[in-house]
Subunit: 358 residues, 2 copies
């Protein structure tokens, strides 16, 4: 087992990564306060891992909430189902909420924990590659609004994160690929050696080699943790994680939440950012092809959906959280492994990207 610490002063927390961690009571015990534990999962993950996960909390009063599976259920109404169960069972302020599932379950359970009685304990057990390398690190929680993703939420750090790589054995191929989009992203934004390592090890990752997966997860979490530690509330540096996300969120919203996976939107979105970076004179055609190649090896889309018009992109991107005072801020690349955030680009280059790269 590897242990990584996200350094956030009094809100620091450990991430445990390894095989067979699910159900280990000793691992989570130091992080549970009170006597009541609410495990939130979904209809896909619960049949596979709920019983195993519960074993870790056998000495507590455990209740469960099983939500429908999918990004389209990440809203205030479904969130309320978590509150219903907590309140009906008279969960008090010392209780612990446990998220068992992917990013949607993590985000919703985290926001429920942030808001229930103005804040209770939270433990994350992410079961998809995407949530293991992305949403489980950094404390971002929330739900979607019909007109914008993650518009309602809170920063709420977990007490600990348990990543059991065995849970990836049951992950659908498409979900594994979506997770790899975020893994590759870390190489692109801050870690060129990791990008090179990924180019070499992508076949092993696609074949779900547990050792290679564990290393990819650890290096991704380490990259994310390092940046989050420097910028907890997303004042600056942390915005780098949004490479491909402003385009990607527009794709997710434009195609209807749940049709394109988050990682798929990010993959096509990263390529749009790469194309714009090329127009800016920072990346070469070779860089673009190299990045497209690794994404394609991971069976990820490298083109935005044909159905979406340039205007639709612009409208949806203008509604994104990254907009300040009307200016669409984007994450672009100076080089592979060197991202930056900017609102200072010629707007015609953004339009050219949307027109030409499709």
């Amino acid at each position: 087992m590897k242990t990584l610490t996200v350094e956030l002063g009094e809100r620091s927390y450990p991430i445990f990564i390894g095989q067979g961690l699910l159900g280990q009571a000793e691992l989570v015990k130091p992080y549970v306060t009170g006597t009541q534990v609410l495990i939130v999962s979904n209809t896909t993950v619960a049949p596979l891992y709920l019983e195993k996960a519960k074993q870790a909390f056998s000495e507590y009063d455990v209740k469960t909430v099983i939500l429908p599976d999918g990004e389209q259920y990440k809203n205030l109404d479904v969130l309320n189902q978590i509150f219903d169960v907590a309140i009906e069972n008279r969960f008090d302020r010392k209780c612990t909420f446990v998220a068992l599932g992917g990013g949607v379950i993590g985000d919703m359970t985290g926001f429920a924990a942030a808001s229930y009685q103005r804040g209770v304990n939270f433990i994350q057990i992410p079961t998809t590659l995407l949530s293991q390398v992305d949403s489980s690190v950094g404390g971002k929680t929330g739900v979607n609004h019909p007109k914008g993703k993650n518009m309602i939420g809170a920063f709420h750090q977990p007490e600990c994160v348990v990543i059991d790589t065995d849970t990836l054995n049951t992950l659908e191929d498409r979900e594994l690929s979506a997770g790899l989009a975020e893994v590759i992203k870390y190489g692109l934004i801050v870690d060129y050696p990791f990008f090179e390592w990924l180019e070499q090890n992508l076949p092993g990752l696609m074949a779900r080699d547990p050792v290679i997966l564990a290393e990819a997860i650890e290096r991704s979490c380490q990259n994310k943790a390092t940046i989050v530690a420097k910028d907890e509330k997303e004042a600056g540096l942390r915005a780098l994680f949004n490479l491909g996300h402003t385009f990607g969120h527009a794709i997710e919203a434009g195609m209807g939440y749940g049709n394109w996976l988050h990682g798929e939107g990010v993959s096509a979105g990263m390529m749009q950012a790469v194309y714009l970076s090329k127009l800016m004179g920072d990346l070469t055609q070779t860089d673009q092809e190299r990045i497209a190649a690794i994404l394609q090896s991971a069976h990820l889309p490298v083109m935005p959906p044909k159905e979406m018009s340039v205007q639709q992109f612009l409208d949806l991107m203008a509604g994104d959280k990254k907009v300040q005072a009307g200016q669409i801020r984007l994450v672009l690349l100076k080089a592979i492994g060197q991202a930056y955030v900017t609102g200072e680009y010629p707007s015609e280059l953004l339009e050219r990207t949307l027109i030409e790269y499709r």
Copy 2:
């Protein structure tokens, strides 16, 4: 104008108290970031004060949300109306939410500000005596769940609070009395000289003498600010504010939200706590009568509603946030001006209180 500072380190903020403060741009300007301001008010307050309040923000892009008036609308659905307007108008992360109204508007707007894009700026302009002396100080925000008050929320401090005592001129008598319940509470829990001052000045307060009202508001806010500064997240000391609230919340819930005003429930609830304190041997019959007398002078109820059974009280109190591990914790009095929190009382004395004091 009086200025009071709530000391919370980097989250410290000023409370301005005086006549004619509404609409003063210079007062709020230092506390607005960005260019977008969302003023949230209700159908009662908006016709009276919205135009005046807007004058203070004339150099910003101002949008408004007018919600229905009443505790029964303090829920997730109505909260969503605030998000709708913010998102439709593409409010960004630097925007400021302004609460113009009573406690319900303050709590909902504050929670909306805490959650919108994971947290935006918040300014409070409380227009009822209750919200001026209670909910505007301390950063507690939230909405109700059908089975419990304030079950969903966040701690989110405002940038500043503007208390214009002129807004009390249009306050209904019943609302004024409800606010006085909380004013009297500060005397009861920590400030015996203030309690004596209130006994003397209650006629002036009921007559809405602006000078006496301003002094009562200032001393109430000062008492609250002192305690909040020592205990921002309600770990201990701050629980004293809940004198009468565990009983009072049960009354509000039992009678249906909106039928008993919060201050009315607190008033009857404080008398129940006083009676129990007498059974504990700490207060005298004379103390009880003296406290009942000042509440009655403020035209407040001193008895719980006859409609509610002992069992109903116990059930509703057991669901309250103050419960930890099944034990109902209560705020009781050692003397007038000296409250304490305890779960260590003979449970038969609580039952005797519920049976006898009605």
